[in-house]
Amino acid sequence: MSVAPLLSIENLNAGYNEVEVLHGVHLRVFEGEFVCIIGANTAGKSTILRAISRQVPRVSGSLQFAGTDLSTRAAHQVSALGIAHVPEGRQVFPDMTVEENLLLGAFTARTASDLPARMQDVFTLFPRLLERRQQLAGTLSGGEQQMVAVGRALMLKPKLLLLDEPSHGLAPKVVEEMHDAFVEIHRRGTSILLVEQNVSLALDVATRGYVLESGRITLEGPSAELNQNPAVRAAYLGI
C-alpha cells in the first residue's frame, strides 16, 4: 500500500538571476515525518525551503503539496495551504509584542475560533514566551526571538513546518531546548522539514535525512543510517 507524500519535489532546479543553486533535486516528506536536509554552507539547503515557499524567482520542476501544485501559488498564498516557514535568522516583528507576533502567525486563519487554544499550545511548548507575552519581540534574547518565530509558525496549525537553521547563532543550551521543542512539535503531529548545519543534532531529532552537496542530493536515508555512513561521518561529523 503506498501513501501519497505530503510534499513531493521532483527534479527541482532553482536559482537567483544567472546563478542556478539547485540541480534536479528530488525530495519527499510523508505525513507525520520529521525530515532533515544536511549539508555544507551554500549547498542550497535554504533555497529548497525558499522554493517551497515560492520565494525563489527562478524555479523549474515539480513542487506538489497535499495535491496542490505549488507553482500555481504566490508566496503569500503558501501559508494558507498549511505550510509554515520559519526563515533563517530569528525573523520576528521587533516592535510588536510577543502576543502580537503570535497572532500575526495565524493571520490567514484569523477567523478561527481556537486562536486562544493555539496560543496556549505555544505557551506550553515555550513557557518563557508566556512570561514575556507583553514584551516587545525586539527586546528578547536571541533564543527567545527564535521561540517567537517558531511559535508564530505554529499558530497557523501547519501540516508542514519548514525550519531554516533554527539553531544558528544560539547558545548550546538554547539549541538543545529548541531541538527538544521540535521533537515535541513532531510528537504532537506536525510534519517537519528541517534545514540544519549542525548535522549531529539534526540527525539526532529527525527520522530521515537528505544530504545536499552543491545543489544535488547525494545521499538519503533514515537518520540512524546516515549517522553510521562513513562519508557523512567524515564530511560532517568530523569523525
Binding site: 515557499s53 501559508s79 516557514h85 520576528v92 521587533p94 516592535d95 510588536m96 493571520f107 497557523l156
Partner: protein, 323 residues
C-alpha cells in the same frame, strides 16, 4: 474611550477658534492653510508613516486634484464637489500606476522615484497648455456663492471645510492603523520577509495604502485651490512647496502617528508665515534661512517628532513610561 473624548474636545475647540479671528484678516487664512497642510500630511502619513515608503512626489496627486476640479468647472460647469470626487479617482489611479513599478523600491530609491514622478507631472502640466492653461496659470471662475457651488463670500466656510477635511483624513488614518490593514502594514514595515511567509500579500497592501493616500491627497488639492483661487503648475506640482513640505510636516510632527501631522502643521506653517512677515523686508532669503535653522534645531532636539514631547509630558503626569 478617553481618546475619543479628547478628540471631540479638540474638534470643538478647533471649530470655535476661527470665530475668534478677524473674518477678513490674515490669520484666518494662515489657519485654513495650516489645517489643509495637516490634512495633506495625514494623507501622506498613510503611505509614508504606515507603509514606511517616504514619498517625495505627493504634489503629483495634489496637482491632479487641483486641475481636475478646476478644468471640470471651467469646461463643463461642474461643481468643484463633483470635481473633487473625480480628482480623487484620478489621484487614486495615478497612485496605482506609479506604485506598481516603484513599490519594490525602498528608502532613498523610492523617494527619488516619486520625486521624479512629481516633477514629470509638473513639466506635463506646464507643456500641455490646451488642457491646463500652461505656465500662465489658472483662476477659479466666479460662481454664485452657495455650498453646492463651493463658492463663499467669506473665508470662514473654507476654514470649516478644512477642519472637516482634517478630521476625516485623521479618522481614515486611525481606522487603517487600528484595523487589519494597519497590522499588515506594520508587519511589512518591521520585517517584509516574515510578513510574506505568514501570508501577507506585501505588494497588494502597499498598493492599497498608496491608492488611498493618493486619492485623499488629490481631493485636498481641490480644497486648496478653492481657497487659493489662482494657481499655476509650478505651485501645485511643486516639489519643495508641496511634496517635501508635506513630508516634512509629518516627519517633524511624528511620522506614523495620528497626531504627528497636526502638530507638525501647526508648528511649521504659521512659523514659516511669521518668518516671512518679520524678515522678508530686511534681506532676501533671510526668512527662509532662519526658518531652515529652526527646523534643524527642532529635528536635532526631537528626532522622532513633536509627538515625543507630548508623550514624555503625559508620562510625567500619569507616572507611566514614554513610548
Amino acid at each position: 474611550m478617553k481618546r475619543w473624548i479628547a478628540f471631540a474636545i479638540v474638534v470643538v475647540v478647533a471649530c470655535l477658534l476661527p470665530l475668534a479671528l478677524d473674518p477678513r484678516g490674515y490669520w484666518i487664512r494662515v489657519l485654513t492653510f495650516t489645517l489643509l497642510f495637516a490634512a495633506m500630511a495625514q494623507a501622506w502619513n498613510i503611505i509614508g508613516g504606515l507603509a514606511n515608503q517616504t514619498s517625495l512626489g505627493h504634489a503629483a496627486f495634489f496637482g491632479i486634484g487641483a486641475y481636475t476640479s478646476t478644468i471640470l468647472l471651467l469646461k463643463f460647469g461642474l461643481s468643484p464637489w463633483i470635481g473633487m470626487v473625480a480628482g480623487g479617482v484620478f489621484g487614486g489611479v495615478a497612485a496605482f500606476i506609479i506604485a506598481i513599478p516603484t513599490m519594490r523600491l525602498q528608502g532613498h530609491y523610492f523617494a527619488l522615484a516619486t520625486l521624479a514622478f512629481g516633477e514629470v507631472m509638473r513639466v506635463i502640466a506646464n507643456v500641455w497648455v490646451s488642457l491646463t492653461g500652461g505656465p500662465g496659470g489658472t483662476s477659479i471662475p466666479f460662481s454664485p456663492p452657495s455650498f453646492a457651488n463651493y463658492s463663499f463670500k467669506l473665508l470662514l466656510p473654507h476654514t470649516y471645510i478644512a477642519i472637516a477635511a482634517l478630521v476625516i483624513t485623521t479618522l481614515i488614518f486611525e481606522w487603517i492603523q487600528r484595523g487589519a490593514m494597519g497590522y499588515r502594514l506594520r508587519a511589512i514595515k518591521e520585517n517584509p520577509s516574515a510578513a510574506e511567509v505568514i501570508g501577507i500579500d506585501t505588494t497588494r497592501v502597499k498598493l492599497q495604502a498608496a491608492v488611498i493616500s493618493g486619492a485623499l491627497m488629490a481631493m485636498l488639492g481641490t480644497l486648496y485651490v478653492q481657497v487659493a483661487v489662482f494657481f499655476d503648475p509650478d505651485t501645485v506640482f511643486s516639489a519643495a512647496g508641496i511634496s517635501i513640505r508635506v513630508a516634512l510636516v509629518a516627519i517633524l510632527g511624528g511620522i506614523g502617528t495620528a497626531i504627528g501631522p497636526i502638530l507638525g502643521a501647526f508648528f511649521i506653517i504659521p512659523l514659516e508665515e511669521l518668518m516671512n512677515e518679520w524678515f522678508s523686508s530686511s534681506a532676501a532669503g533671510l526668512s527662509q534661512l532662519i526658518f531652515g535653522l529652526i527646523l534643524i534645531v527642532v529635528i536635532l532636539w526631537r528626532p522622532h517628532g513633536f509627538v515625543t514631547v507630548f508623550r514624555s509630558l503625559r508620562a510625567k503626569f500619569t507616572g507611566g513610561t514614554a513610548r
